[in-house]
């Protein structure tokens, strides 16, 4: 498998006080749409900035298409189209002037630069705003311009940090559709804490917490590994009827039942081959309990639940999260969930 991004023990500590990235081992396969997921402050943006060479790692290495990232690694940055969160541009320029400047920085000849920037402005819907200075742009327009800027040099890898932050629903839909359209020919890494975005566009996901990667694999693997065969039944009815149902369901074989507020029955079926039979038995009990069934949801579809479960599990591991193995030993021992 060819890798677009590979980091080994990547660590960033600010001023000897704040750990932003903590011994991060990240692998992004070529051609993937990789969602870098994590709560605010998880280290997603710092990881991207380390890959771009905007920051220096305290320890560890980062490679993009096999080339080491660094402050003056122009060959790495040539392969990356970067979209920052709420991008900040020189306000006195107009979109064409700005894109033309970036084209020159990317060493694009004029005959390539000019047609490409006009076609990109059209693609992101900014053709009508070419007369305006960037300082008059709304958040959505700035993001669109940032998208055009990231695509100008036609890079094979896109690093987009919170691309839907601050966008209205239409602009958000436009951005997600664009990622889908771009994906076949490029590797796209989308850092976000919005699970809906990940669910819609990503085929791979990495979950970061407190600077560490607590999960990396396909999105199906994450759901399967965490939610397993959990099924949620949303009920309506008197409290005593729900309590009786929970008691009765607890007696069924191969099944663990948990009541979650307000009246959701979380059911985990131990034997995957008996899912239909066990569920059928449970539904018979529901009918007889005096409760009415509102909805049935499969845990396989709930990325949010899987994500929250990952975070909870990581917190619960406590000191077990400490890995004393030496870097070389870890190279041999750590397995990629992909593999």
């Amino acid at each position: 498998m060819n890798l677009a991004i590979r980091t080994e023990h990547l660590t960033k500590v600010y001023g000897g006080r704040v750990i932003a990235v903590n011994d991060l081992n990240l692998t992004v396969p070529e051609g993937a749409i990789y969602g870098l997921l994590g709560p605010n402050g998880a280290g997603k943006t710092t990881t991207i900035r380390l890959l771009l060479g905007l920051q220096r790692p305290t320890a560890g290495t980062a490679e993009v298409y096999g080339q080491p990232a660094g402050v003056n690694a122009t060959n790495v940055r040539r392969a990356i189209g970067f979209l920052p969160t709420n991008p900040s541009f020189p306000g006195h320029l107009r979109p064409i002037e700005y894109l033309d400047l970036l084209g020159k920085l990317c060493r694009l000849p004029r005959e390539v630069r000019q047609p490409r920037l006009t076609s990109l402005l059209r693609a992101v819907g900014l053709t009508g705003a070419t007369e305006q200075r960037i300082q008059t742009f709304s958040t959505g327009m700035c993001t669109r311009l940032g998208i055009a800027a990231s695509l100008l040099a036609d890079p094979p890898l896109l690093l987009w940090d919170e691309p839907t932050a601050g966008l209205d629903p239409a602009a958000r839909r436009f951005t997600l559709n664009l990622i889908r359209e771009l994906a076949p020919a490029r590797t796209v890494v989308v850092a976000t804490h919005i699970l809906g975005d990940i669910d819609q566009i990503c085929d791979h996901v990495g979950v970061m917490l407190e600077g560490r990667m607590i999960f990396s694999g396909t999105i199906q693997q994450m759901r399967r590994q965490l939610s397993g065969d959990e099924i949620s039944l949303e009920l309506e009815g008197p409290d005593d009827a729900v309590a009786r149902l929970v008691e009765a369901a607890g007696g069924l074989s191969d099944m663990a039942v948990e009541l979650r507020p307000p009246r959701t029955l979380a059911v985990r079926i131990a034997e995957p081959g008996r899912r239909a039979a066990a569920l059928s038995e449970l539904l018979c009990h529901v009918d007889g309990s005096g409760c009415s069934l509102h909805a049935i949801r499969s845990g396989r579809n709930e990325t949010e639940h899987a994500y929250l479960q990952l975070l909870q599990e990581d917190q619960a591991h406590g000191f077990n999260r400490f890995d004393i193995r030496l870097p070389n030993a870890m190279d041999a021992g750590r397995s990629d969930p992909q593999a």
Binding site: Y14, R49, L52, L54, Q55, R56, V71, N72, T74, N75, R77, R78, I80, F82, P84, P87, S88, F89, P90, H92, Y98, L101, L102, K104, L105, C106, R107, G146, A149, A153
Partner: protein, 292 residues
């Protein structure tokens, strides 16, 4: 291509900024006022000296240093990281181009105003006694003052890069530069102070080209080297707390009021050029080590 594009972009931003525009207008107005006040009464050398007062003593050093501060400080750093430094550009390329743009903007304002005025002062018939101002003297004076402006921009550049906060950098620069004449005097380096340079302008303006191309030029270079070595020794002695007797007597008549026979353009160029180069290299090193 990237360095040229950044230079053009930075220069465009500077020339569009209200600070540079206001400075240019103020420079033109002040120059015309000084010119009008001295036109029929003052000889060429003292008049050019008066015209250079704002650049050498007060107040343009403030603006020149402020112009140097801005490229990698405050909120500008965000747009710089998002827009330029995340592209295939090295930090050296960016910083050198940004520095060159600032130097070019300052020298453009200075020369666009001073060069025509100097020519006008030298060639116009003004009804005052003839003054033996030489072409070499005028060119050397303009070049040395230009170098001092370059040094000031670079100093602002260094402090801005080191401190990151534009306001703090401005305060530090003002309080560093204001007492510079006193500090240089303490270390017996008056020759390099802007005030001394200002006092030496008439002498330099009247220096003939032949005087610097005489056969004993190697001896003159040796004198320069000896003088620099003596000043460095004096500087180190003062830093280490030792006294330095008779330091001034060794300088000959240079420090006598209004007598500047010992004035050396080479020494002045080295005195401002080398620190400017050092400050630029230090800025590059600091910026290259920084997280954005």
């Amino acid at each position: 291509m990237p360095a040229g594009a950044i230079l053009k972009h930075e220069l465009g931003g500077l020339l569009a900024s209200w600070l540079v525009r206001l400075w240019f207008v103020a420079t033109v107005v002040l120059t015309l006022l000084i010119l009008a006040a001295n036109w029929g009464t003052t000889q060429t050398a003292p008049m050019l000296q008066a015209l250079l007062f704002p650049y050498l003593v007060f107040p343009w050093f403030l603006i020149v240093m402020l112009l140097g501060i801005s490229p990698v400080t405050g909120s500008r750093l965000d747009s710089l990281a998002d827009g330029i430094l995340s592209r295939p550009v090295t930090r050296y390329e960016y910083l050198l181009a940004a520095w060159a743009a600032r130097v070019a903007a300052v020298l453009a304002v200075y020369l666009v105003v001073m060069a025509p005025v100097a020519l006008l002062s030298v060639f116009a018939r003004r009804g005052v006694a003839d003054d033996p101002v030489t072409a070499y003297g005028v060119i050397a004076t303009l070049a040395v003052v230009g170098l001092i402006q370059t040094f000031l921009v670079t100093l602002g550049f260094l402090v801005g890069t080191l401190l990151r906060r534009p306001m703090l950098a401005a305060v530090v620069l003002v309080f560093t530069w204001l007492p510079v004449n006193l500090v240089l005097g303490t270390f017996s380096l008056e020759q390099f102070s802007p005030l001394t340079m200002y006092q030496a302008v008439p002498t330099l303006l009247r220096t003939p080209w032949t005087a610097v191309e005489e056969p004993d030029a190697p001896a003159s270079n040796r004198e320069d080297a000896e003088a620099l070595a003596a000043q460095a020794e004096q500087f180190m002695r003062l830093l280490s707390g030792h006294s330095a007797p008779h330091a001034r007597q060794q300088q000959g008549g240079f420090f006598e009021p209004r007598v500047f026979e010992g004035l050396s353009v080479t020494r002045l160029l080295a005195g401002y050029g080398l620190p400017a180069l050092g400050a630029l290299l230090l800025s590059l090193w600091v910026f290259n080590r920084r997280d954005l």
